[in-house]
């Protein structure tokens, strides 16, 4: 697989191509973090996050590559690791308390939403993920999930979203969502 093929396949949401890329640059990218005072676990985490950023931009059609894929991902890794180092530094200072309390609240809310998502069927989950995260077109969603056409994909997405809304709203009052 050459660069162009990999990129095209990733743009179409081919997860195998993402795995291929992950393997291909694993050492290069994790080394960046490890040689900059990170652990291997942190390195893996940063690399995975960077690849997912790349993936999201590619699948949503928001990425025009002007450099090699590796250069692009490398720069995302650098940015993410810099941010992480800043975050660690901040946490070691006084801002700790407020940050923690805010994080807990949001995390709790996210956890409940995640539980609701888990209650959906596999296809529903996929439709919503492809729509809201991968930002695929309805045609791509239909192709990937084997729907007859975009109308079927649209209807499916609508119904799944309604179902999720119901589940989430049953757990919360509207006020809970508003800061």
């Amino acid at each position: 697989m050459n660069e162009k093929e990999i990129f095209e396949r990733i743009c179409k949401g081919d997860e195998k191509a993402l795995e291929f890329l992950y393997k291909k640059y694993y050492r290069m990218m994790t080394k960046l973090v490890i040689t900059n005072s990170g652990t291997e676990e942190e390195a893996r985490d940063i690399y995975q996050d960077a690849l997912i950023v790349f993936w999201q931009k590619a699948t949503s059609g928001n990425l025009v590559l002007t450099s090699k894929i590796s250069t692009y991902i490398y720069s995302i890794c650098q940015n993410l690791w810099r941010k992480e180092l800043d975050r660690k530094k901040r946490l070691s200072n006084e801002e700790k308390d407020t940050a923690v309390s805010l994080d807990t609240e949001t995390a709790e809310r996210d956890k409940i939403i995640l539980k609701c998502i888990e209650q959906l069927g596999e296809t529903c989950k996929k439709v919503l993920m492809y729509y809201y995260f991968d930002e695929m077109s309805m045609q791509e969603i239909a192709d990937k999930l084997g729907f007859a056409n975009t109308d079927t994909a649209k209807t499916k997405k609508y119904k799944c979203k309604m179902k999720l809304d119901e589940l989430v709203k049953a757990q919360y009052s509207e006020q809970d969502f508003l800061d």
Binding site: M1, E5, E15, K16, A17, L18, E19, F20, Y22, K23, K24, Y25, Y26, R27, M28, T30, K31, L32, I34, T35, E40, A43, R44, Q48, D49, L51, I52, W55, S60, K68, S70, T71, Y74, R109, D110, I113, L114, C116, I117, E118, K125, L128, M129, Y131, Y132, F133, D134, E135, K161, L164, D165, V168, K169, E174, F177, L178, D179
Partner: protein, 294 residues
Amino acid sequence: MALENNIELLDDYVANRLSATDKAAFEQQLQADPQLKNEVQIQQRIAEGIRQARIAELKTMLGNVPVAGLTGGQMSGFAKVAVGTITAAAIAVVGYFVLKQDESVETKPSAATEVNPETVTTVPQEAKTEQEAEVTEESTSPSRKTKEPAKPNKTNKAEPRKDEKVATRPSINAFDPSVDSGESSSKTDDAAQAVIENSSPVSSSKIVAEVDNTNKKYKFHYYLKANKVTLYGDFERSLYEIIEVFNNEKRTAFLFFHNNYYLMNEEGDKIKPLSPISDPVLIKKLDAYRAQKN
């Protein structure tokens, strides 16, 4: 404004699917409609939850991809790769001596003792790139290197350690040059055979092998360029080995896979099909190297 009328617009907004103009218009609408604004906030949280779930799913997927760690031997697969690599390197070494022996068995039976120790470097399954080379610290001694992300050879007794291992082996003692001395080395006009006849070692050579089993067009092909070979097809299921033979700085590479040998030609700069070597003399020799090794 009735919320129902805005559901689709709202959803497109939350899903980042509005054009810049529509987005701006919708945001203006939001300012004037507190009920709509509240609903957007709720929907944004839900959409964010979906995104987080997808990220978690992708991370789990990537976390399950077998890769070689840098400091810990987290993947048993990698240890197996190391075994395969050592095997391939050993074959290359033994191969050289057998070939050399064919050429000079009568005059220089102790040619093996002139050769430097062999260094084998293992790499994980990803290919090295120029950029990686910049951040890579490992270096090996100037002897011939064979790199191969091969699949496990379960019968191999070599003890794999951790990833990024560098193993040095003195290479010579195991080989008895007399074993192959009965073979005539000039029975064939096969081009590969001719290269082998005159082979000699060259330092600082390496081939990085990479497998691409996702290409629909190429099912049993290879592409050899400089120090990198891409094998197209289902090579990861069993052991494959790259064998390098050197002749006055010219390298000839062979692939051993499923009991067949394949000549890999660098000329032409294109992906080529793999066809098994049929010359019985050459096969016999290559077989002999392997038998000798194992």
